[in-house]
Amino acid sequence: MNPEDQVDTGAAKALNLTDAELLNILREGAEEVFMMLGAVGELVDENHGAEDHAASQAAALADIAYEVMVEFSGPKDGVVVMRCQESCANNITRGMLSMEECEPVAQSEIHDALGECTNMLGGFFKRQALDPRGSFRLGIPKIAEYVAAESAVVQGSLIYELSDSRASVEVWLDEQAQ
């Protein structure tokens, strides 16, 4: 979906951002992080938090193995989330650690690598989207915890394909913040 074609949601407006602006910030952050990993991510799906988001994402990103989130708090609370498939997590970790394709990857290395990726995405989002709008704090990356899932609403998500496996980058806002 072309961001310019989207109708702005009340959700994105909670941060005084248009949906297109929010998705652009997510995209720039993801691409900077991928570039640092020496990886090229192809954008295969994007969504600005429409009601059919769950169905759309489920179709584009199946078999999620890891979910990492960094909470932000301030005038609005929410999380920046990265989810990925098993092979994508392995690829990202090997890329970050400059490992050969045949080298086994330890679970602790995957957790550390995905945590750093999400931390950088959260930092980029904070600098570009949050800092101009108030005083915000970032939390520590948490792996595989759905702490905000029941009380938060997806504001935007991008799904990337890296070497035949997929990962999503998302922003959720606490619905009480909207």
Binding site: E32, V33, M35, M36, T93, M96, L97, S98, E109, D112, A113, G115, E116, N119, M120, G122, G123, F124, K126, R127, D131, S135, L138, I140
Partner: protein, 124 residues
């Protein structure tokens, strides 16, 4: 030539910084690692020839800002430059780091050029 210390609680990030230093062709004598401010001070106590520190801000035990404060009790910014490397790139955090005695600031994600530009003025 310079001995450099990387301070970050993420071993992945320490490896990434080492790779970026190679890509940026930054030549140092040796690279030491520490996982937080306390470990960094211990390294500094036993390696008095460390010439530059690259430090994360958010770390357990002792964070990067506290590390800068402690180091500045014994080394001024010319004797031992400290470059902060962090996701926390807001202006307030940047000003706080500089006022505590940091010499520079690099935001993650970074490129070899960014790291090189921050380090080159201090590489002897």
């Amino acid at each position: 030539m310079t001995k450099l210390m990387i301070v970050d609680d993420s071993s992945t990030m320490r490896k990434i910084i080492m790779r970026v230093l190679r890509q940026a062709e930054i030549s140092v004598d040796a690279i030491l690692e520490a996982g937080n401010g306390i470990e960094a001070l211990e390294q500094l106590a036993s390696n008095s020839d460390i010439g530059i520190i690259l430090s994360d801000v958010n770390m357990p035990e002792m964070d990067g800002l506290e590390l800068v404060k402690k180091v500045r009790e014994t080394h001024n910014s010319e004797q031992l430059p400290i470059i902060m490397v962090t996701t926390e790139g807001g202006e307030a955090m940047r000003e706080q780091a500089i006022s505590e005695g940091a010499n520079g600031y690099v935001c993650k994600p970074f490129t070899p050029d960014t790291v090189s530009a921050a380090l080159q003025p201090f590489i002897k």
